[in-house]
């Protein structure tokens, strides 16, 4: 690991000050991706700005018809939150299957979505539930947030502060995990919110994406069988040692049907 300066601001305002004007500064949330990246010398930040000491970024609250999760809320705290479990059990379920217990004790929602790993779990929930991401500068709709592989709409000195999830009528997440890392080889989040159906797929492409044919079919009939006739084309899907693009295309259909069945 290359060495770096380290700062641990106590407020969001101080974190913004610390990162402004330094293009080589990096924010660290839980560090579950960044620290391994540093160890491989794939990044050489001038300064690491640790958001771990900022209390205002942590916690879950109900806000009308939405659940708002602070960016530095750990996966374990989302998984165990009585607020999340009662309002959006599918989201608590997703958080309870990220990585492993030691990873869930450090990893955060803000870190996960800002990193936008193509196989991360959270982006599928953010897209399927049509969440709104609040940053230090603006509010960003889920469909505009995730750009491509490890790329988001965030500016260099913009920090995610919270994610607001509208409460769905029905939702569920199913993933086919990599047996070692527990990253999604394919994960599908289905949600029905205010009569609107959204289906988001992670792990299969360069980032989470919506499967619009499935959304249309489920809007007509919320039933796993409504997806039986649909086939996903493997063109452009990820292909690696874990799974070919054809296999991932097949898994999208299987996971989507299982998710609808699980949502009930």
């Amino acid at each position: 690991m290359y060495n770096f300066d380290y700062s641990r601001p106590k407020s969001v305002a101080d974190a913004v000050k610390a990162i402004a004007g330094d293009g080589d500064a990096k924010l660290v949330a839980g560090g579950m991706t960044l620290i391994p990246t540093l160890k491989q010398r794939l990044a050489k930040p001038s300064v690491l700005i640790d958001l771990g000491g900022i209390a205002e970024l942590k916690g879950v609250k109900r806000d009308g018809n939405a659940v708002v999760i602070g960016a530095m809320t750990k996966h374990i705290d989302v998984a165990n939150s009585s607020e999340v479990k009662s309002a959006i059990p599918a989201l608590a379920d997703l958080a309870s299957h990220i990585g492993d217990p030691a990873v869930r004790n450090r990893g955060t929602i803000g870190g996960s979505i800002s990193n936008n790993d193509p196989a991360a779990d959270y982006p599928s929930a953010v897209v399927a539930l049509n969440a709104t991401i609040t940053t230090t500068k603006r509010k960003i709709a889920a469909d505009d947030f995730f750009k491509s592989l490890f790329e988001t709409a965030l500016g260099a000195d913009e920090i995610v502060t919270s994610v607001s999830f509208p409460i769905p009528e029905k939702a569920a997440y199913m993933k086919f995990p990599n047996p070692a890392s527990r990253y999604a080889i394919v994960g599908v989040f289905v949600a029905k919110t205010g009569g609107n159906v959204r289906v988001a797929v992670t792990g299969a492409g360069p980032g989470a994406f919506r499967w619009k044919e499935a959304e249309a079919a489920l809007a007509k009939s919320w039933n796993p069988d409504a997806l039986k006739a649909l086939a996903v084309k493997p063109d452009g899907l990820n292909s690696d040692i874990h799974a070919s693009s054809e296999y991932r295309a097949h898994l999208i259909g299987v996971m989507a049907r299982r998710a609808v069945a699980k949502a009930g």
């Binding site: 690991m1 290359y2 060495n3 770096f4 300066d5 380290y6 641990r8 560090g31 579950m32 620290i35 391994p36 540093l38 160890k39 690491l48 640790d50 771990g52 374990i76 990585g99 492993d100 217990p101 030691a102 990873v103 004790n105 450090r106 070692a180 890392s181 527990r182």
Partner: protein, 157 residues
Amino acid sequence: MPSVTLTVNGKKATAEVENRTLLVQLLREQLGLTGTHVGCDTSQCGACVVHVDGNSVKSCTLLAVQAEGANVLTIEGLANGSELHPMQAAFREHHGLQCGFCTPGMVMSAVDLAHKNKNPTEHDIREWLEGNICRCTGYHNIVKAIKAGAEAMAGAR
């Protein structure tokens, strides 16, 4: 050089570290607590699991400076003098190890599980261990040991 002060196994410790020093390096190389192992060094195998403020974390994926002020518990801090912690005793009783390399991490993970789930089922234990890899593949006895250790911990309360 930055200095970090933390509590390790109930004792205050202060050390000079680099910002890039990992918690596991501080524990092993500066504090001499070599019971915490480095296996994969890529956050997957769990040999380096310690407790930070009561929760299991991978000490190879945490900077020492991030543990400033934290309460750290390592495998060396579990036993009460010469009396093994109930989870350690259960690993011995049920032969929950082969080569022993993964054992410190397994035991620390297991103690965290038993704190959070007083009566874990075999399924709970196997799911919990997804972040702890035993390359000897001795999982059956590890699971048995954790079940017995959790029961002993619940009984001791």
